[in-house]
């Protein structure tokens, strides 16, 4: 996908509806998802999670990279004001872990190797990623901090310096580096298959998906698992604390409807569930993001980005 095309895409629109603060989009499938950056810019990725682009508003759209997979789980650090991602120039070439400075607009490669998964920041602000054999810990400036055996494609640092991951067999694990203990996380049904974990900002909770549509919440301290309502692509909200998740329906070939629900969490238990937004005939929502003060950021099936500012009060009781 050409950068030029992206620029036209941004220039293409701005439609305002009563329900939506603003939206923009372009040709079908133009944007796959949008994520808030610390100062309110939008981080965009294209189909197949290819490339990363930053939309500053008006007609300014910067291309960070056109690497494949770069848009799959990029990590953003508010204090460092950087974003980090793993991209592949070609699918079978080495993966490159790169840090993009959002203030100085510089791009630095901190690691290159085969089969590198997406990076994430740990509670110390270090970049963590895995190549399936090793887990690497780097500073965002590119200095190696630690490396140890283990890992999976997606690995999450959680509270107390521990790690969480789901392997390809669909088993979720909690690993404690200090004691070198690894524990499989038992679900209600031994036959479950888990994937796509996300950690809360403080690392105390992990939400992950399960085959069949269920979403589970893992309490890192109590090691307790709570089954949440069915959903897709859970993301954590800090205040009120809970999980925002999509409920996608499909006909086996394409998405037919979508709904956003919010599951409030208190002491590891579901406090309440609230319907936030339902798709209309015109908008099939396939990705979501939320930031306090900025509001909901929705990406539709046909590649449009919609911003809704007023959902913070909907999320609270």
């Amino acid at each position: 996908m050409e950068v030029k095309m992206k620029r036209y895409a941004v220039l293409f629109v701005i439609l305002t509806f009563a329900a939506f603060a603003w939206e923009f989009g372009g040709p079908e499938g133009d944007w796959l998802s949008a994520t808030w950056l610390p100062r309110g810019e939008l981080l965009l990725t294209g189909p197949n999670y290819r490339g990363l682009f930053i939309y500053y508003g008006e007609d300014r759209l910067d291309t960070v990279t056109l690497d494949w997979k770069a848009g799959y789980r990029p990590a953003i650090h508010d204090w460092h004001v950087v974003l980090v991602f793993t991209g592949y120039e070609d699918f079978d070439s080495p993966g490159r872990v790169q840090v993009y400075d959002l203030l100085y607009l510089t791009l630095d490669e901190i690691y290159s190797g085969q089969k590198v998964g997406p990076p994430v920041f740990n509670e110390n602000g270090h970049v963590v990623f895995s190549d399936e054999n090793y887990v690497f810990v780097y500073s965002h400036r590119g200095y190696m901090v630690d490396v140890f055996l283990g890992g999976a494609n997606v690995i999450l640092p959680i509270a107390d310096g521990d790690y969480f991951f789901c392997d390809r067999a669909g088993i979720a694990y909690h690993y404690e580096p200090l004691t070198d203990k690894q524990e499989a996380i038992a679900l209600t049904d031994g036959g479950r298959f888990t994937f796509s974990p996300v950690a809360s900002r403080d690392g105390k909770y992990v939400a992950f998906e399960d085959i069949g549509g269920a979403v589970f919440l893992y309490d890192v301290f109590s090691r307790k698992v709570t089954e949440l309502p069915k959903g897709d692509r859970p993301i954590f909200i800090d205040e009120p604390f809970g999980v925002l998740q999509l409920q996608l329906e499909d006909d086996g070939e394409d998405i037919t409807s979508s709904k956003i629900i919010f599951v409030a969490i208190e002491d590891g238990e579901i406090a309440y569930v609230k319907d936030v937004l339902e798709s209309t005939w015109k908008y099939l929502i396939t990705h979501i993001d939320f930031r306090p003060g900025f509001g909901l950021l929705l990406t539709t099936r046909d590649g449009r980005i919609i911003h809704e500012r007023d959902y913070e009060e909907v999320l609270s009781k």
Binding site: G29, P47, F91, A152, D180, F195, G212, L246, G252, R301
Partner: protein
């Protein structure tokens, strides 16, 4: 962490080349359907075949689903993405208006060059697998093609709803001519060519000590009719038999199996353009499975006839007959291979009991004008010819009430034997558990073997009947 380390190092060493297969639909989403089989089941069967062939080529294979479960598109993508798989192949069958047949393979319109290459390598293999119309390589923005991080394709092997020339879904149900195995092999070979690795060999399991081969010269082989010894190369162990004058030629391979169990059964023949494409084959084990195979296309290799259960000894056999061949079509009788696969389940050793739920009777059989068929009440009755083409059907009639009520309510209830079709039998008793029907074949139907199939829920049973005009 040590077990994790070992597991991951081992896993990593195996991950030089990997792919995740995505059998489309599943669970409450049946996908497309034909009269005999559902797309979700065909997709899963093909995926397992592809997995076997890929693993034979040392490829690490994952599956988004390996059972009949409902799985959303979002979950399919998430499983593939979070597992870090390198390629994604979604396996589907097509459907339109029951009259269209062909094969097409998709990748995303703005996908990577690897996606296009994978699509272009798999597609000709799918064309080879079925020999149907080449509907071409195409692009589309299917959800799984757009939302996966790796090169991805989606194959539409055949139109499973096709009934204009034959019942395509019946070919999946019976694995006609290794229908599912060939499609699975196509995905495997296309993938291997795309990745530059040695592809697996189609349908040629190496004989092992656990395998038993009965060749046409062996004492366990018997035949009747008029067979001639062939002289071309390519027969198993050098020789084979053929016949080309249709009559009552038959051949039977009766192995002395060493133990009870489930066996993979293969047949070897020398293929050719003048061969019969609907040779009637029966595998007689614990069940009596019938199928039609084509001896055109690829030959001189082992063709998979499915996995079948047998008791030890000589009670089981595979037979072949030419009654379905057009006069002049050549039928080959060469060799059959049994490979022990698994022990019989405990249920197979239970006291033989008369089936309580599904039973079909037909009288007279053979018949020359009409046949009376008794089948479970509420079952859907269909009649197929040996090519899998549905020639008659009676929709499910779950609550007919008394014969007179049924007569009054149903246009399917006919007096006597007035015309062609399948009708509720006037004189037969409509019991709560079984109904009787009469089938009088259409005038354009020829003599031969037909199959009556009764389907009720997930259960079905087939009865062979012979029509002599």
């Amino acid at each position: 962490m040590k077990s994790l380390i070992i597991a991951l190092v081992l896993t990593s060493s195996l991950l030089a080349v990997n792919v995740i297969l995505d059998p489309g639909h599943g669970g409450s989403d049946a996908g497309a359907s034909g009269p005999s089989y559902l797309e979700k089941n065909a997709n899963l069967d093909v995926a397992f075949q592809a997995k076997s062939y890929l693993e034979a080529a040392s490829v690490t294979v994952g599956m988004t689903r390996s059972t009949d479960i409902t799985l959303s598109l979002a979950d399919r993508c998430a499983i593939a993405n979070s597992g870090g798989w390198e390629r994604f192949m979604s396996i589907h069958e097509n459907a339109y208006n029951t009259a269209v047949q062909g094969t097409e393979t998709f990748c995303y319109t703005s996908g990577s060059s690897n996606s296009f290459d994978l699509r272009n390598k798999v597609h000709p293999e799918l064309i080879w697998a079925h020999g149907y119309n080449d509907r071409g390589t195409k692009t589309a923005n299917y959800y799984v093609l757009v939302n996966t991080t790796m090169p991805a394709i989606l194959g539409e092997g055949t139109f499973i709803d096709y009934t204009a020339g034959w019942d395509e879904s019946w070919r999946y149900l019976t694995n006609w001519n290794d229908h599912k195995g060939r499609q699975g092999f196509a995905y495997a070979k296309g993938f291997c060519v795309h990745r530059g690795i040695t592809p697996p060999t189609y349908g040629s399991p190496p004989p092992t000590t656990d395998s038993i081969i009965v060749d046409n010269g062996d004492p366990e082989f018997t035949s009747g009719g008029s067979w001639t010894a062939g002289s071309y190369s390519g027969g198993w162990d050098g020789d084979y038999l053929f016949c080309n004058v249709t009559g009552s030629n038959w051949a039977r391979w009766s192995p002395n199996l060493p133990e009870d169990g489930e066996y993979d059964v293969y047949m070897w023949w020398l293929a050719g353009a003048n061969r019969c494409d609907s040779v009637f084959v029966r595998v007689f084990g614990l069940a009596n499975d019938s199928m039609a195979i084509s001896q055109k296309g690829t030959g001189s290799e082992w063709h998979y006839l499915g996995s079948h259960e047998f008791y030890s000894g000589t009670s089981g056999y595979v037979s072949l007959g030419d009654r379905t061949a057009v006069n002049g079509d050549v039928v080959i009788a060469d060799a059959v291979l049994w490979i022990y696969n698994a022990p019989l389940g405990a249920e197979d050793f239970a006291e033989p009991a008369k089936p309580a739920k599904m039973e079909i009777s037909a009288y007279p059989n053979p018949f020359n004008s009409a046949v009376s068929i008794t089948a479970p009440a509420g079952a859907e009755i269909e009649i197929f010819d040996v090519n899998g083409r549905r020639v008659a059907e009676l929709p499910r009639l779950a609550s007919l009430g008394t014969p007179s009520q049924a007569k009054g309510n149903s246009p399917l209830f006919k007096e006597g034997w007035p015309e062609a079709g399948v009708f509720l039998s006037e004189g037969a008793r409509l019991s709560p558990t079984a109904h009787s029907y009469v089938w009088r074949p259409e005038g354009n139907l020829g003599s031969g073997i037909y199959f009556v199939r009764a389907t009720m829920g997930v259960e079905s049973m087939t009865k062979r009947i012979v029509y002599l005009r």
